[in-house]
Every structure is written in structure tokens, then in C-alpha cells.
């Protein structure tokens, strides 16, 4: 029987009763079990969850969820924000206990785990936000709190022994740095390696990576995926949580998809594909790809132009770049290649150390972000919570902030004018919130990003710069943001999008400029778009 091509398996099913649904899920789980030929199907699972349910006040976070992880298996765990991934992680980490269901770890059944129990049975986490002391060196981080001590009353750390203990761990994760490197000087991917080495040091049998690649540049992502393969070869299981589906595709033996707290489906090795995952995640197919592949349009006049701009990050490297009206110019490159710094100069946050800017062919001098805003140059910054919005202010207050005098009579703020503007943006952007008076801190990442966009769309953008606009945002909201960017470009706005997400850069841009160590290493037109070309330029080589 050929189950794996049975479309029923990942079709969302409505109108089933609970028992039926469970039976179907269990069945589909079993079928997949035999599909994964890579791993010996006879091996007993290291971890299995059965019928786990967890509710929070007002929400069912997980409902009748079951999954298994076998030794040496890499599980891709995907789902939109709010699908229940974090709840699942909290249960596995012992931070919270489920309302019902069983968790079997290494043959022992539990009602719930404790933090110590989880650690003790060899479950280790590498979180999106890394838990490293960046003022300490690698070795000190890996064995923090468990340092080997010298004999004697002073409990001095035995540094020599520490180093010999750390060396093999670093080798296993393929680290290209030594044990006494300061963590602060490491790249993000290297820091993740330290975290993984830390997990290995406690003899982890299951490593859970939560969005490890979301802030990694392209080249470093490959390194991380290699580390995952090395773990697998050592018989260590991995749960890989990611929004970047092509990476999941590359590395996972099996993909578990969560939707609305329930198991939406499991895909065996041969079924894993971008479209299937997306279909399971959102219960329908997305149109974003078709939209992105429209023919290249005729370029408009140059709106913003950089003439030999030198940023504080790379004072010796002048940058020339034109952003044209009506186009989305993708700005790709490795993290640290100077893209954000360039955006900061365009937005008047930093001043250029030389060269000049032109807007619509006229010289432009920016003394502050206020000057840029006055000229219609807007920035949606990389760090939403730190610089994009004020979490303590309401949606309405955030949206009116850059244009407050227009919402005031005799310099007294008019609440009704503010509300009117915000309501308009809320409706236009589909911001999901009880009202425009809601504190933005309580919104999801996608909705917060829409507030940032709304604050600029309420004014008249001429040049819109978006720095990693969809980072940490779920797939549905991503598509909406792409749609908005396209609509802006169609309305004649010059859009500059900085992104480390290869799919996004290629799928959304009309042209791609690639930065390498502070300089534009090349500009690709639509007919030369390919991952390979972008990557080659990003590392400073010429494209084919």
C-alpha cells in the first residue's frame, strides 16, 4: 500500500469527531514510522509524547498531540507562530506540565517533566536567544558552574584540565575557534556551536534547536546544518524548529507540522517539500510565490542615490547605490557586511563620513532621522522591539508618533485625529488587535511589524527602507508584508529591502544588490537571480 502519496494524510479535516481524528492521527503516525527508511524502524524511540494536552487561561495551546523521536533522528518541527511550538518546548524542558497525556523518555513514562528531570535524561536546548556570557571565554561558558577545580582550599579553576575537556567537544561540533576565545568575538553561528558543545558536555541525547538559523547569514547556516548532521551521526536526536522551510527540507528525516495546537500532519523523508509543509501549516496554499515571479517591470527614475557614501563600520569603503522609484531593491549579504549601517546613513541616524546622498537628483543632507522623515525617507528597522515601536504605547500612539504635529491642534494632541489615522491603518493592514488603544507590547510579532509599517504608510513614503522585515514573523503575515511592499512599489515608492533570507530576496526583489565587507560587490537583474549568484557575490566572488 502506498500511503505516502495519499493526499488525505495532510489534508486538513473538518467535522470529524475527536476520537476519529485521534485514530487517524495515530494511524498516520504509524504509517510514517515505516516510511522513514533512513533510521532503523525497529529502534525504540528515545522520546515519545502521547495525547498531550495543555491549556492556558482562554486558550488550548496543545490538544491531543503525539509524536516520537528516535535515536539519531532529525525532526523538523514547523508551524506558524502560536501553533503550539513554544508550549511543546516548555513541556519538554520541564518548565510546564501538561494537563493530560504521557511523556515517555528513554522507556520511562511521566505525567510531566521537571527542569532537572529533563536535563537529567539528556534533553538539551539551544534557544533562539543564546544564553552565553559574552564576557567569558568559550571554555568557561561550556562548563559554567561545573568547572574542574584544583586541589587546595581555594577552589581555583583548573584551567589546563578545563581546556582538555573542552577540546574534544569543540572538535565534534566542527569549531574553527579555540577554547580560550572570548565569546563576544565569535560570530552568531560560532556562538551556537558553543551552545551545542555545551549540550554535548552534559551528554545530551536530544538537542532541541529553536529557530537557530533565523538570525544567521547564509554561509553560516550551512555550518550549522553540518553540525546537525554530525550530531545525527553520533546517534543524537535533534528537533529542529524553524521558519526557514528550505533548511528543514535539507536536514530533517521527518517533519512534524503543528497547527492551532494540534498535529496537522507528519511528513516522511520522501514527502518533505516546501509546498506540503506550507499547506499543512496554514491549511491552504499560498499565492506569494506566483506573485513574486511576475515579469520584471520597467525601472523608474532614481529616487535615492548614494554617491561614495562611507559608513562608520567601513570608513575606507565607499558605497554607490541607486534605489529607483517603483522597484523593490533587495540588499543581500552576510551579517556584518555593512547593510544595516548603510540603512542607518540613509535614514540619518549615522552621518556619512564622506560622499553624499541625492534624493530625486538633488543633494540631500541628513542631520538626524527627523530630517529623513521630513523628506519621506522611512526605515522599518531590524530590531522591532528596540527601535521599531514603543511597546508601552498604544497602536494609535505609535502610528501618530512620527507625524504628531499633524494630529494636534495648537500643539495639543487630538485623540480623535490619532484614533482616526490608526483605525485606517489597522483596517488597511489587517492589524489584529481588540482596538487601536491596545498596547503594542501585547501584539504578536507580525502585528507589531504591521504597526511599524502603518506608522510610515500613514505618511507619504518616497523611499521605504525595510531591514529584515519578516524576521520572526509567521508565514501568513510574511505574505501580507510582501504584498504591501509590492503595493508600495506599484505606487511609485522606492523600496529597499535588506534581507538575509535567500528565498525572500530572490522571491520579492526586482533587483538584488549584494554587499561584501562594506561594499556593493554586484547588482543582479531579474534574469540573473539565483541562490548561487547571490552567495558568490556575498563572499566577494564574481557571479556566473
Amino acid at each position: 500500500m502506498d500511503h505516502k502519496h495519499d493526499p488525505e494524510k495532510w489534508e486538513p479535516v473538518f467535522g470529524e469527531d475527536h476520537a476519529q481524528m485521534l485514530a487517524r492521527r495515530l494511524l498516520s503516525g504509524m504509517m510514517n514510522y515505516s516510511d522513514t527508511s533512513i533510521v532503523a524502524s525497529t529502534s525504540t524511540p528515545f522520546l515519545s509524547l502521547e495525547n498531550v494536552r495543555k491549556t492556558y487561561p482562554g486558550v488550548v495551546a496543545l490538544d491531543g498531540f503525539s509524536m516520537e523521536v528516535r535515536p539519531g533522528e532529525v525532526i523538523g518541527l514547523v508551524g506558524e507562530n502560536g501553533a503550539g511550538k513554544s508550549t511543546l518546548m516548555k513541556i519538554l524542558g520541564g518548565v510546564t506540565t501538561p494537563d493530560s497525556g504521557t511523556i515517555t523518555v528513554d522507556g520511562t513514562a511521566h505525567k510531566g517533566l521537571t527542569v532537572e528531570g529533563s536535563l537529567g535524561s539528556g534533553i538539551a536546548f539551544v534557544h533562539q536567544e543564546l544564553n552565553l556570557f559574552d564576557n567569558l571565554d568559550v571554555a568557561a561558558n561550556i562548563f559554567f558552574g561545573r568547572e574542574p577545580l584544583r586541589a587546595g582550599p581555594f577552589k581555583l579553576v583548573d584551567r589546563a584540565k578545563l581546556r582538555t575537556m573542552v577540546a574534544p567537544l569543540l572538535k565534534r561540533v566542527g569549531a574553527n575557534f579555540s577554547a580560550d576565545t572570548q565569546v563576544a568575538t565569535l560570530s552568531l553561528a560560532q556562538q551556537q556551536m558553543v551552545e551545542i558543545a555545551k549540550a554535548l558536555s552534559i551528554e545530551a541525547r536530544l538537542v532541541i534547536l529553536d529557530e537557530p538559523t533565523s538570525s544567521l547569514p547564509l554561509a553560516e547556516t550551512d555550518k550549522l546544518l553540518d553540525v546537525i548532521k554530525a550530531l545525527k551521526a553520533d546517534g543524537i536526536s535533534v528537533i529542529f524548529i524553524s521558519h526557514r522551510l528550505h533548511e528543514v527540507e535539507r536536514v530533517a528525516d521527518r517533519v512534524v507540522v503543528l497547527r492551532d495546537g494540534m498535529l496537522a500532519g507528519t511528513l516522511g523523508k520522501h514527502d518533505i517539500g516546501h509546498d506540503q509543509m506550507v499547506k499543512l501549516m496554514i491549511g491552504r496554499m499560498l499565492k506569494e510565490r506566483e506573485k513574486a515571479s511576475e515579469a520584471a517591470r520597467a525601472p523608474g527614475a532614481t529616487a535615492l542615490s548614494a554617491k561614495a557614501i562611507r559608513t562608520p563600520a567601513y570608513p575606507g569603503r565607499p558605497v554607490d547605490l541607486d534605489v529607483r522609484r517603483g522597484e523593490i531593491l533587495g540588499l543581500a549579504g552576510l551579517v556584518g557586511s555593512g547593510r544595516t549601517e548603510l540603512a542607518r546613513v540613509f535614514f540619518g541616524i549615522d552621518s556619512s563620513l564622506g560622499g553624499g546622498l541625492e534624493l530625486d537628483g538633488k543633494p540631500l543632507v541628513l542631520g538626524s532621522a527627523a530630517d529623513a522623515v521630513a523628506h519621506g525617507i522611512f526605515l522599518v528597522p531590524e530590531d522591532r522591539k528596540l527601535t521599531g515601536i514603543l511597546l508601552d504605547l498604544s497602536i494609535a500612539q505609535n502610528i501618530s508618533l512620527p507625524n504628531l504635529p499633524a494630529h494636534a491642534k495648537r500643539s495639543l494632541v487630538s485623540a480623535s485625529a490619532e484614533t482616526a489615522t490608526a483605525e485606517k491603518q489597522k483596517k488597511a493592514l489587517g492589524i489584529k488587535a481588540p482596538s487601536v488603544q491596545t498596547r503594542t507590547g501585547t501584539l504578536s510579532g507580525g502585528n507589531q511589524q504591521k504597526v511599524v509599517l502603518g506608522k510610515w504608510l500613514a505618511m507619504n513614503p518616497k523611499v521605504m527602507i525595510l531591514d529584515e522585515p519578516t524576521r520572526g514573523i509567521d508565514i501568513g503575515a510574511k505574505a501580507e508584508i510582501y504584498g504591501l511592499m509590492r503595493a508600495l512599489a506599484d505606487a511609485g515608492v522606492a523600496v529597499l529591502m535588506i534581507s538575509s533570507d535567500m528565498e525572500e530576496v530572490i522571491g520579492v526583489s526586482d533587483r538584488i544588490a549584494v554587499m561584501h565587507e562594506g561594499q556593493i560587490s554586484g547588482i543582479l537583474d531579474k534574469d540573473r537571480f539565483s541562490q548561487e549568484n547571490v552567495l558568490l557575490l556575498a563572499v566577494g566572488k564574481q557571479p556566473k
Partner: protein, 331 residues
């Protein structure tokens, strides 16, 4: 009026009632007039401080500025015989310049507010003492300024004019802080200066303006204090006044991290502080314990406020859990 302010008002009334019961002299017109005069003087000072604290800054030089500008004011009108309205304006301008310099050092040269104003505290005190050669500035015998004295130390219908001045200033500053574009900028900067900058606000100018407002209000209160004491020994005049102002703001619900607090709060904070001073005098508590009483009350106040917040958050959670449990049972 927020719940926090209401709680503070109730505390003031309860403490007042207790003091009045133990010592009925609390309610004598003369006592009330004296206390409200002091509330007026310290209130003006505290409003200025509040504008700086809302941006996440702090102004420690207030007491020394009161000493320096008070000394200069008396010197101008008593010794140099400058017409008092001119001297009045001159002092306010000096206050504005001090604020401008502080704001400039903090926003342009990126020095920390604590450091800048701590240096100010030392410098202005030293200059004031040097100016009078460590002597006392005061009026000659028989020297009179009837209009000025009426405006600063006089009373209308039994109410001290300093208190009336505070009310007028409070209303104006309430509108500025809670209704104006500038006020919104102040809160935004206090909450997150970076995000405010990325929203196109000229944060440097706004913060500088806050220090200028603080400087002008401090200068105004310096004149009031000078006309109240009528003689100033610059070594001790106005000492610790910055701490009174900061205490009033903290009692009134301001966060020293910035972005939080209301004008009514800082006024009520001032009222409570002066009430406590009065209490120490009226209940026969040794005046040496004055500061200890004040410190104790502020500590308890801040603690209760914080614990109340924790309690409320917990109760909300419990309520929500109960509701969802009831909902599940109903299904």
C-alpha cells in the same frame, strides 16, 4: 486622576486626619497657611525635577542652584539696586542657561545626567559661597519691596500667593505634560529613546528642553525661597532640596527609568512630604528624626505600590484561570 494618585490622596487625608486628632493645631489657619506656602515652594521645584525624570534623567544640582540664584537675586535687588522685575527675569534667564548647559552636555556630549548634575551641585554651591565670600546675603534694615513681597510671600484671602502660583503653574504644566505634542515626546523618549529617535523625533532637543524647563522652574522657586527666608547663607541654603524634589516625584509614581508619572502625582508627593514635616513638628517627634521619618515613609510607599502591582497581576491571572475553567466545565 489615576488609581495611584487617588491612593496617594487618600493616604494624605488619612495621615492628616490622624495628625489633626492627636494635635488639633494641625488645622489652625496659620499652620495650614505655612504648610501650603512650603508646598508651593517645593512644588514648583518638584515639577521641574519631574520633567527631567520623565525623560529618564535626573537633576541633582537643584539645591545648589536655589542657593546660587537666590543669593544672586538678593544681591541684585538689595546691593546692586537692580529693579526687581528686571532681576526677576534675569534670574529666570540664568536658570534657563543652566538647564541649557546641562542639556547640551547630556545630549550632545553624551555625558550621563547623574555625572553632569552632580558636578553642577558642587560647582554652583562653591560659586555661591565664593560670591558672598562665605557670608550671608540679605536685605539692609528697612529695605522693602512691597509688590515683590506680596507676590512671593504675601497672601490673598488667607491663601499664600506661592501656593496660588503653584496651582497656576501646575495647570499649565499639566496641559504641557499630558496634552501637548511635547509632552507625548517626553513620555516616548522616557520609555525608549532609541525608538523615539527612529520615529523621527529630535530627541536631543526635547531632552534639552526638559532641562531648560527644570532650570527655569528651579530659578523661580529660588526667588520664592529667597523672599521666604529673606537672608541666605549659601553654605547651607537649599541643601538636599534636589532630594526633596526627587522624593516627591518617586512618591508620586514616577519611575527613575523614565516614561512614567503624572503631574498630579508629583504635586501629591510634595504635599505628603510637607505633611510629614509638619507631623514631625506637631507630634513632638525630635526634629533630628525628620529625615528618617521621610525616608521610612517613602520606602514603605514604594514597597506597597510595588507589592500591590504584583498582587493585582496575580489576581488577574487567577481570575482568568477560573473563567476558562468555568468555560471548559460549561462545554
Amino acid at each position: 486622576m489615576s488609581k495611584k494618585d487617588l491612593g496617594l490622596l487618600i493616604l494624605i487625608l488619612v495621615v492628616g486626619a490622624i495628625v489633626a486628632i492627636i494635635n488639633p493645631r494641625f488645622l489652625l489657619p496659620i499652620n495650614l497657611a505655612n504648610t501650603s506656602n512650603l508646598i508651593g515652594l517645593f512644588g514648583i521645584l518638584s515639577i521641574g525635577q519631574a520633567f527631567v525624570i520623565i525623560t529618564g534623567g535626573i537633576e541633582l544640582s537643584v539645591g545648589s542652584v536655589v542657593a546660587l540664584l537666590g543669593t544672586l537675586f538678593i544681591d541684585f535687588i538689595a546691593v546692586r539696586e537692580v529693579a526687581w522685575p528686571l532681576a526677576f527675569v534675569l534670574i529666570l534667564v540664568l536658570g534657563a542657561i543652566i538647564g541649557l548647559v546641562h542639556g547640551w552636555l547630556i545630549t550632545r556630549l553624551k555625558l550621563q545626567p547623574f555625572v553632569v548634575t552632580l558636578c553642577g551641585l558642587l560647582i554652583y554651591r562653591g560659586v555661591a559661597r565664593f560670591y558672598t565670600a562665605d557670608g550671608t546675603a540679605g536685605f539692609a534694615f528697612g529695605q522693602n519691596f512691597p509688590d515683590l513681597e506680596f507676590l512671593t510671600a504675601g497672601r490673598s484671602y488667607g491663601v499664600p500667593n506661592s501656593f496660588i502660583a503653584l496651582i497656576v503653574i501646575s495647570i499649565v504644566m499639566w496641559v504641557v505634560l499630558h496634552r501637548s505634542v511635547f509632552g507625548r515626546y517626553l513620555y516616548a523618549i522616557g520609555k525608549n529613546e532609541e525608538a523615539a529617535k527612529y520615529s523621527g523625533i529630535r530627541t536631543g532637543r526635547v531632552v534639552m528642553a526638559a532641562y531648560v524647563i527644570c532650570g527655569v522652574l528651579t530659578a523661580l522657586s529660588a526667588i520664592y525661597f529667597a523672599m521666604y527666608t529673606r537672608s541666605i547663607s549659601p553654605a547651607s541654603h537649599g541643601q538636599f532640596y534636589e532630594l526633596y524634589a526627587i522624593a516627591a516625584a518617586v512618591l508620586g509614581g514616577f519611575s527613575l527609568r523614565g516614561g512614567e508619572g503624572s503631574l498630579i502625582g508629583v504635586i501629591l508627593g510634595t504635599v505628603l512630604l510637607q505633611e510629614l514635616q509638619n507631623l514631625v513638628n506637631l507630634l513632638g517627634i525630635p526634629s533630628s528624626l525628620n529625615f528618617a521619618v521621610m525616608g521610612g515613609v517613602i520606602l514603605i510607599g514604594v514597597l506597597v505600590d510595588q507589592q500591590w502591582g504584583v498582587f493585582r497581576a496575580r489576581r488577574l491571572m487567577v481570575d482568568a484561570t477560573r473563567k476558562s475553567a468555568a468555560g471548559a466545565a460549561a462545554e
